[in-house]
Amino acid sequence: MKASDGAVLAIRVHPHDNVAVLAADVQAGGAVRLADGTELQAVEAITRGSKVALIPIPCGKAVIRYGEEIGKATKDISAGEHVHTHNLRRGE
C-alpha cells in the first residue's frame, strides 16, 4: 500500500517498537511513513513484509517488535535499514 505521494506505509504494532513492517516494497531512498505521520528514508531496497529499523540500533542491543525483544542486533543498524537474519539473531 502506498500513499498518494508515493510513500510506503509501515506498520508499528507497539509504541516501543524500534522496527516496523513494510506494507509494500520500497526502493533505496524511498520514503517510509508510519500511521502517526512519522517519516523516514529507506537506505536500501526492502520488500513488503520485511522489517525496517525506525531508529539506529547499536550492535548487541535489543530489536523490539510487539513491545517485546525479538532478538539482538548482530551489527550496528542504521535507521531505514532492512532488519533480518543478516543483522538480527535470537537473544539467549
Binding site: V21, K51, Y66, E68
Partner: protein, 388 residues
C-alpha cells in the same frame, strides 16, 4: 455495543447457550464410521462425525478420547445426539453417554453388534435422529449475551502479515469480548515457544504463570526430543522468506490473538474453563486438533486467521475466517468471512476488531459462515502415544 450484544440462541439444560441447534450423530469408534456416513446421506440435516479412534490405545489416550468426544456431545451448539458404537470398543456409546450426562440433553445410543449389523443400525439411527430433529425444531429460542459466548482463537496457514493485521485485530476482539463478560481461549502451545515472557506478564496469578511455564517448557522439550535438530525449524524456511527472523517474533505474532487482558486459567486439552475471561489451553498447533479441544471445552465459535488461505471448518461449530491480506480475501472469497488486510492501508486493528465483534454477533444470531455454507466440517483430535 455492550448493551446491544444480545442474540437469540438455545439455552441448554446445563445453562450453557448454543448458537446452533444441531443433532449430532457421532461414531464413538472408527468401526462405526460407515453407519454414520450412510445416515448422513439419508439425513443431511444431522451433523455426522466420524474419526479414526475409539480403541487400541493406552490409558492416557483413551481418557483423552472419552473427554474430547464427550466434550463435543456436551458442546452447547449440539441440542441432541445419537451415539453409534460397534460393541467391543473402549469408548462405547454408554461410556460416552454417561460422561456427557451432566449436560442433560437427549442422547440416544445404538450398538451395531447388538442390533444385528450395519443395515439395521442405519435404520435405527435414522429413526432416532429424525425424532430428535423434530424435537429440536420445537425448542424455543432464548436471549443470550456476550457472557454466554466462548470463542476459540486459532491461526493457520499463516503468512508474514498474520501477526501484523489479522491476529492483532482478533486480539482487540478478544479484549472487547472479555470486557463484555465473555470467554476467549488461546491455544497452540507450540506457537508459544519464544513468547513465554509476555504470556507470564499477562498471567493473573503466580499459579497461572507457573502452570503456563510448565506447559510451554514441556512442549519445547518434546519438540527437541521428537524433532531433534529440526526443532529450531519450528520457524519454517517459508516464514524466513516471508520476513520473520526469530522464533520469538513468530510466537509474538501468534499470541497477539489473545489481546491484553489477564490470563485467568491454564487448561489441559479439551478441559472446560471454570471462569470467564481469557484462558489458555494446552493444544497442538495442528488446526483441526486444536479446534477439537476448544469445541470440547464448549466454544460455540472459532475465530481463525489465515494468510495463505484455508477452507477448514469444524462440525457443529462455526469457524469464522479472517484474512491477513486483501489479495487472499479477493482470491478465496468463498472461504474467507472478513478481511483484516485494510490494516496494511492504514486502518487500525481496533476498527477491524469492532468489525469482527459485529460479525460474531451476527453469527451468534444464526448467520452462516463460509465454512458452514461450504459444508466444511473436519474432525480429528490430539493423541499422545502410539496405537496398540
Amino acid at each position: 455495543m455492550s448493551a446491544d450484544f444480545v442474540f437469540q440462541g438455545w439455552r441448554r439444560p446445563d445453562g450453557r447457550m448454543g448458537i446452533r441447534n444441531h443433532c449430532l450423530v457421532l461414531a464413538t469408534v472408527s468401526c462405526a464410521a460407515g453407519v454414520v456416513r450412510e445416515v448422513s446421506r439419508r439425513l443431511p440435516a444431522v451433523v455426522a462425525v466420524e474419526h479414526a479412534h475409539g480403541c487400541g490405545r493406552g490409558g492416557p489416550d483413551l481418557g483423552l478420547q472419552v473427554k474430547t468426544l464427550a466434550g463435543l456431545v456436551q458442546n452447547p451448539n449440539v441440542g441432541a445426539a445419537v451415539l453409534v458404537g460397534l460393541g467391543c470398543e473402549v469408548t462405547s456409546p454408554l461410556v460416552l453417554k454417561s460422561a456427557a450426562s451432566a449436560s442433560g440433553k437427549p442422547v440416544e445410543t445404538v450398538v451395531i453388534q447388538e442390533v444385528g449389523g450395519s443395515r439395521k443400525a442405519v435404520d435405527q439411527v435414522e429413526a432416532l435422529a429424525r425424532r430428535l430433529l423434530g424435537e429440536l425444531e420445537d425448542l424455543p429460542r432464548q436471549t443470550g449475551t456476550a457472557a454466554d459466548l466462548m470463542v476459540g482463537l486459532k491461526c493457520g496457514a499463516s503468512d508474514t502479515f498474520s501477526g501484523l493485521t489479522a491476529n492483532p485485530a482478533v486480539g482487540k476482539l478478544a479484549d472487547r469480548l472479555v470486557q463484555l463478560g465473555g470467554t476467549a481461549i488461546l491455544g497452540e502451545t507450540t506457537e508459544m515457544i519464544g513468547a513465554l515472557g509476555p504470556l507470564l506478564k499477562l498471567s493473573e496469578t503466580e499459579e497461572v504463570a507457573a502452570r503456563l511455564r510448565v506447559k510451554v517448557e514441556r512442549q519445547e522439550a518434546l519438540a527437541h526430543e521428537i524433532l531433534g535438530p529440526l526443532a529450531g525449524r519450528v520457524i519454517a524456511p517459508g516464514n524466513v522468506e516471508g520476513g520473520l527472523t526469530t522464533i520469538a517474533e513468530k510466537a509474538l505474532g501468534c499470541i497477539a490473538k489473545a489481546g491484553s487482558t489477564p490470563i485467568r486459567q491454564v487448561l489441559d486439552y479439551a478441559d472446560r474453563p471454570s471462569r470467564n475471561g481469557l484462558v489458555v489451553m494446552d493444544t497442538p498447533g495442528y488446526d483441526v486438533e486444536t479446534m477439537a479441544g476448544m469445541a470440547a471445552a464448549g466454544a460455540q465459535v472459532i475465530l481463525f486467521t489465515t494468510g495463505r488461505g484455508t477452507p477448514v471448518g469444524f462440525p457443529a461449530v462455526p469457524v469464522i475466517k479472517i484474512s491477513s491480506n486483501s489479495e487472499l480475501f479477493e482470491a478465496m472469497t468463498d472461504d474467507i468471512d472478513l478481511d483484516a488486510g485494510p490494516i496494511l492501508a492504514g486502518k487500525s486493528a481496533a476498527e477491524v476488531g469492532e468489525e469482527i465483534l459485529a460479525l460474531l454477533l451476527r453469527v451468534a444470531g444464526g448467520e452462516k459462515v463460509k465454512a458452514e455454507i461450504n459444508g466444511q466440517a473436519v474432525f480429528a483430535f490430539a493423541q499422545e502415544g502410539p496405537a496398540f
